[in-house]
Assembly symmetry: C2
Homo-oligomer: 480 residues x 2
């Protein structure tokens, strides 16, 4: 499939008026948790409660049916028992609303009766051009519009914020993971634009979201968590992905590598998890980058969102700690990145500009007593040489001789050269804060050489995908 | 080598009076940074400055030589230029002090002249039975006695604290890594007893520390960072390790797996990094567990310090999130741990005690709406069955139905059964705090299934090492 209009999806993230069907006055209910999200001042649209039991819920006017609302409604969030849902959809159709998120479970995931209810709902939705997310999901969080249907209280499940630098959106089959990732990325401070939990995917699926996020200007990297693909939908997803990846990177965590895990996935989602090898081949052909787990996804996504892709795989490592140089080189080597030694000419220039006790090779060790000036000299010569496609910069800040001006040196050379830079800075308090500053200046920063190497690999892989014709190598066929 | 008396090493961590040779009034000098550590109220011993230039340094009385100090001195920290160090050692010998840490560089790591100076120092030390750590190192941090020779200010390089539950000690060839790990573990809140940077190892070496830490009651897990072994010392280390590992776990990060990284290690330490395969064989034979990097080391060490080793490799995974179950199972499978399904009898009992919509297998999914009672039922039956050697417990706390009583349930079953438990809990704010509470109750808690699986693997590996004779398998030969 190539992408058609994504207008019918847009409303899930931009709705200016939302009705909560099943809004409830009883504490700890899903219907109350959702309305609480929409009465926060951050959401600037209008909100309506729908429930024949109440006149108001938490101060929000409550209507017996959607028909009773005089104003237009853009989006309905459905949190009523499954058996009532078809009736609710008749009401949605009558009100001519075009988008609904069904939070409730009790549909196809529970067996035959549930599946019949789901079919009934889908039939009404199709007939009236209603797009549906769910059922059996936690819905969406949009960090810009503050549309937020996650029915989990913020003290348990933090909500992430968008970053000023670059943002990620994530689509998850699993609602529990969508919630845990919301909470986790909120703490990590990773810039998030949208989180979407798709549940049973009775209508809106990965494909729809992929097309939408490909055109979404607030999403720089598209991430998916999946436990498998059914054959027809999988094919369509990969066809779409192939058209998207030259313009925007796609990262996937797919669980179910092993036999036991695949069995668990089948019992969890009720669908066949499919062959892991077939999925790998499809990822490769469509330019989707598969990562092992969420930590790797966050690390790779941060690099892809903040830095240009690498136009080759030649990495130069610079460090003020010999051990960090060795460990990072180990990690770069394990990922099959090239770590070429400087040419004789470049080596000469570097020796002229560095104290004799610095080690000039790859890594270049500017040694523990350095200030920012040695880094400056290395960047200047190494960039001018054209011998490297990207830079991994070890920045150990435990030693006070290296001042915060190092962050400016790194950010400036990155901007001037247009080459990707990645920083690795191991430690605690001061180091953590300095890393946050480095990232505000646009350069992704990691606590270990392994993480930095993984980020470098992602930039090289995506560079190859983006500039496919210019490369002769098949980097992407390596394990990420 | 088997361990002799470790009394001569003990004084480095228990000295009640310390002289700083080269104490300095000039800001940002090494000689000032070190004396600042010892005048903090936490250090309750006596401190003396030695430097002919001053009468006092930061209010500490300063003497021209050690001889001028009337009281006894247990330990000397040497921070004077290399060429003066032999003279300082004559002074140390005359004062009959038996322990010195040489912080200064400029010795064998710089070439022939430096090596000769180092030989001169060693000759004096040998003649007078002075034990020496260094030169070219940052020395030691002891979190109990507050002996602290790291010359890095605390605002840049945080110092870890001991935990009330279990503590780790780490010996590092690299001073920069010792500092970065001090800073990092301070932020992580990992319980640390001792950090030691050995530098050029002119006298005290890994072997000495291994013997000492093996008997140190405040160290539950011994960790090493190394870039390689020279042949004779390496052999002795592994012989010693073989006698230690049945009683206390040893973890090693050894960098220099790849060719490029090994070249960098050689240029960094001046010694041959040696074959990685030979090292691996030696680790296996001596029961040392090799881990890939510091994150893995911290994760494995936490489990080994807090939990009993596993007497087998049969893991039961319990989760309230299907996706977390699948991903953790993937990770357990990748590490070759056994994930046996419950017997028909156990399955029956579990079905009787759980709602019908819970998935009973391995993993057992007690589903998102659970409270602690379903976990309770699973632990009770699964422990009674004797079918499992350890438990990996998925605890997603984004959903408020699972209250904090789950931590008591987990800790109680762990204590009653004596079996190792590991918790995996993904998320941010509330989840992070709950994880800290879980760990105060003695059960190690991880943010991802991969980390939890790695911890489980370490417990199985160490169980095999500890109970070597009772096992027929060779788990340890697998990659950790």
């Amino acid at each position: 499939m190539s992408c058609g209009s994504t207008k019918s999806i847009d409303i899930f993230f931009t709705a200016k008026s939302v009705a909560i069907y099943g809004a409830s006055a009883s504490q700890n209910s899903v219907g109350q948790a959702i309305i609480q999200n929409f009465i926060k001042p951050q959401y600037t649209g209008k909100v309506y409660a729908v429930n024949p039991k109440y006149n108001q819920v938490l101060g929000v006017p409550c209507y017996p049916t959607l028909q009773d609302i005089e104003e237009e409604v853009d989006l309905v969030v459905v949190a009523v028992p499954a058996r009532i849902t078809p009736r609710v959809f008749e009401d949605i159709a009558a009100k001519k609303i075009k988008a609904a998120i069904i939070i409730s479970g009790g549909f196809s995931e529970t067996g035959k009766i549930g599946a019949e209810l789901e079919d009934e709902v889908v039939a009404i939705a199709k007939k009236h051009d209603i797009r549906v997310i769910g059922p059996n999901c936690v819905g969406v969080v949009d960090t810009h519009s503050h549309i937020d249907t996650f029915f989990l209280p913020e003290y348990r499940c933090g909500r992430p914020k968008p970053s000023n630098v670059a943002n990620i959106s994530l689509v998850s089959q699993s609602g529990a993971f969508a919630a845990a990732i919301s909470d986790w990325t909120a703490e990590l401070g990773l810039g998030i634009s949208k989180l979407i939990s798709l549940g049973n995917k009775c209508d809106v699926d990965d494909d729809d979201l992929l097309c939408y996020l490909a055109e979404d200007s607030t999403t720089q990297v598209i991430c998916f968590y999946t436990e498998g693909y059914d054959e027809s939908k999988g094919r369509s997803f990969f066809d779409t992905a192939k058209t998207v990846t030259p313009n925007k990177p796609i990262l996937v965590v797919k669980s179910g590598r092993g036999q036991k895990a695949r069995a668990a996935a089948s019992s969890h989602t009720g669908s066949l998890a499919g062959s892991d090898k077939v999925a790998n081949a499809a990822y490769m052909q469509s330019g989707v980058i598969r990562v092992d787990n969420f930590e790797h996804m966050f690390d790779a996504a941060k690099a892809l969102a903040m830095q240009p892709p690498a136009k080759g795989d030649r990495v130069l490592m610079i460090t003020n700690g010999g051990g960090l140089g060795v460990m990072t080189t180990d990690a770069l080597e394990a990922l099959n990145l090239a770590i070429p030694s400087p040419s004789a000419e470049l080596e000469n220039k570097l020796h002229q500009n560095l104290p004799a006790y610095c080690a000039v090779g790859n890594p270049i060790d500017v040694v523990g007593d350095t200030d920012a000036s040695r880094y400056d000299a290395v960047f200047k010569e190494a960039i001018a040489s054209g011998e490297y496609d990207m830079f991994v910069v070890g920045m150990l800040l435990q030693t006070p001789s290296l001042g915060m001006d190092i962050t400016n040196v790194i950010a400036n050379y990155q901007r001037q050269s247009g080459l990707p830079f990645i920083v690795v800075s191991m430690g605690g308090g001061f180091t953590t804060k300095a890393g946050e500053i480095m990232e505000l200046m646009g350069v992704p920063t990691y606590a270990t050489g392994e993480k930095a190497a993984l980020a470098a690999k992602a930039l090289a892989q995506y560079g190859e995908i983006k500039y496919r014709d210019k490369f002769n190598k098949t980097l992407i066929s390596d394990k990420p």
